[in-house]
């Protein structure tokens, strides 16, 4: 009885306030949309401008017509780049590096994360913290010593590492392995212990527990880590710029910057087309797997 009265009272109260709250909400809503539109314009302006320019001929760019509009759209820039052997080589190098780095990183970090999150050994707690700290060491601190070390390896063994696209396969794990291990530790630690205990009682080995229980259960986390790993290896600019120089060994970002910009002659139509094509793979992945992408982003700092 008392609850019922309270209920009615509450309803009445909310009914009284309903009008003003809803009016306030509506105003907030309009302002929110207004500012969101402004920010979306700011955030999407460069990619849109890239696209506009990529549809222009050099003549139209040189004529200084309205830069924000295309009067004679053409796909010539795309055709030129996609039939150019050099550009396709960049694409191939980038794709190979990304695929190898992603595979190696995922195997290494899933094994390590399973071991650090579940199995534990002497010093595993310290190691987990250490992994996080190494993730914070940026590549701009590492590229000079690594450059020297690779030169030493050449002097010592005669294996030339510098100026080959596959040298990047050794370099990118410095960025991807610590982060992927770190977020996989977070995902694995959130799996209930009963699950692997049950598997252990059923006679499963550790590798079986990993492949039959942990990997399927933590699949969203694995997808998020894979996306991150791919994006990083596709986008990195410093390592390839320092370690590769010959045109046939470059990956996409460096290839576009160093070969399409020739001295003072900027063929902006082609540069923008190249940049857009270079940005396409991460963008396509993002378009389809946005939720995983965002989960991976937030997991880095909130898990653990």
């Amino acid at each position: 009885m008392t609850t019922a009265t309270a209920q009615i009272g509450a309803n009445q109260q909310s009914a009284v306030h309903y009008g003003s709250i809803s009016r306030g909400r509506k105003r907030t809503l309009y302002w929110s949309y207004f500012f969101l539109i402004l920010f979306v314009i700011f955030f999407l302006m460069p990619p849109v401008y890239m696209f506009i320019t990529s549809l222009k001929t050099s003549a139209e760019i040189g004529a200084v017509t309205n830069p924000w509009w295309v009067y004679h759209p053409t796909l010539q820039n795309y055709i030129d780049l996609l039939t150019q052997a050099q550009f396709l080589t960049f694409f191939k190098n980038s794709a190979l590096v990304a695929v190898i780095v992603v595979s190696v990183t995922m195997v290494v970090s899933i094994l390590a994360a399973f071991s650090l999150a579940r199995m534990k050994f002497w010093g595993s707690g310290t190691l987990a913290t250490g992994v996080f700290l190494t993730y914070l060491i940026p590549e701009s601190l590492l590229f000079i010593p690594l450059f020297k070390i690779f030169a030493f390896i050449h002097d010592l063994t005669g294996i030339e590492l510098i100026n080959h696209w596959w040298v990047l396969v050794f370099l990118y794990p410095t960025l991807t392995v610590p982060f992927c291990t770190w977020i996989m530790i977070g995902y694995f630690a959130s799996i209930p212990k009963e699950l692997d205990e049950a598997a252990l009682i059923d006679g499963a080995g550790y590798l079986q527990i990993l492949t039959r229980v942990f990997i399927p259960v933590a699949l969203p986390g694995i997808i998020a880590a894979t996306i991150f790993c791919f994006t990083v290896s596709w986008a990195n600019f410093l390592y390839p710029l320092a370690f590769t120089t010959s045109a046939d060994q470059l990956v996409l970002p460096v290839g576009i910057v160093t070969t399409l910009i020739k001295g003072d002659v900027y063929n902006w139509g082609q540069i923008m087309t190249g940049a857009l094509l270079g940005a396409a793979p991460p963008l396509i992945i993002y378009a389809f797997l946005m939720d995983y992408y965002i989960a991976g982003l937030t997991a880095g700092a909130t898990k653990g």
Partner: protein, 309 residues
């Protein structure tokens, strides 16, 4: 009799304990082998190079002689070095503050609109973070182009004179910060939005009953509740921004007259292009103190967070 029973009980107990210990040993052996590739990669490709760069910094240019702090003494006497220090700090601090503020504000706007539409807006707003920075910086370079620039075109059509975006050191610095803010604020927005979602709605209701306006709700409810994430994200971004390379390299390459160099780009210019690896290593080592402080603070924050949970 009782003794016999006790002995019977004791024997299996001992073997089980022994077996258990062997199992634990085997388990930690397997665990160690699982982690071994990680340990090797981190040790050979991160820890060793980081320590090695400290050694490199104490050598002369041809790397034949130990010069102690000679490289640092040389750097301290150069004007360019102090310019780089100033520019790096100015760039990192300003950019992080702008990113945090924009991220915080935009996160609130996204949070305000109905849940149904949030995904779409969030998706559009995160695009700058997804495009490889080297590629989007090219677009900015083109937007800043002095003669055909899209920005100057707008300015001249508004009756204003064009701005030499990247030719003037002050505008160039502002331009670099602008591009970095553009790339980085979506990340802040996503982090703060996630934090905002975890603020219990009851707190807002309680604040509303107490007569709080929207600003008070943000200041007294959201901000304290999000403090941890705000700190972690900002520190984290401070590290990344301080070590930034791509944007400065492509946009200005340190120019005009070295006035926009940051540690990473100057180390690259000296070490790789100038072929003076020890000097380049010395420059990049100056990033270390700020990274160490930020990393220690992040670690403390994450530990605190772990205790709260």
């Amino acid at each position: 009799m009782a003794d016999a029973v006790a002995r019977d009980l004791r024997i299996p107990a001992t073997t089980r304990r022994l077996g258990g210990r062997a199992l634990i040993n085997r388990k930690s052996m397997i665990a160690f082998f699982f982690a071994l590739p990680l340990i090797l990669i981190v040790a050979c490709l991160v820890i060793y190079p980081a320590l090695y760069s400290m050694h490199l910094a104490t050598l002369n240019k041809s790397m034949t002689k130990f010069v102690g702090f000679g490289n640092f003494e040389f750097l301290f006497k150069r004007n360019t070095f102090w310019m780089v220090v100033e520019q790096s700090v100015l760039f990192a601090v300003t950019a992080v503050i702008f990113k945090a503020v924009i991220g915080f504000v935009v996160a609130h706007f996204v949070h305000n609109i109905p849940l149904k539409g949030q995904r779409k807006w969030r998706g559009m707003l995160l695009i700058p973070w997804v495009i490889p920075p080297a590629m989007s910086t090219l677009a900015w370079l083109w937007l800043f182009d002095p003669s055909y620039s899209a920005f100057n075109w707008i300015l001249t059509h508004l009756g204003l004179s064009g701005i030499p975006w990247l030719g003037n050191p002050y505008w160039a610095r502002a331009g670099i910060i602008l591009v970095n803010v553009w790339v980085g604020s979506p990340f802040f927005m996503i982090m703060y939005l996630a934090a905002l979602k975890s603020v219990p709605e009851q707190l807002h209701e309680a604040a509303a009953i107490d007569g709080a306006n929207w600003l008070q709700k943000i200041w007294y409810v959201n901000l304290p509740m999000m403090r941890n994430i705000i700190q972690i994200t900002a520190l984290f971004s401070l590290i990344v921004t301080f070590a930034n390379f791509d944007i400065v390299k492509i946009l200005t390459n340190g120019g005009p007259v070295d006035q926009t160099h940051v540690f990473a780009t100057w180390a690259f210019t000296l070490g790789i292009w100038g072929n003076d690896i020890p000097l380049g290593a010395s420059v990049s080592l100056f990033m270390f103190p700020i990274l160490a402080v930020a990393a220690a603070l992040i670690l403390r924050n994450i530990r605190n967070r772990g205790n709260e949970a």
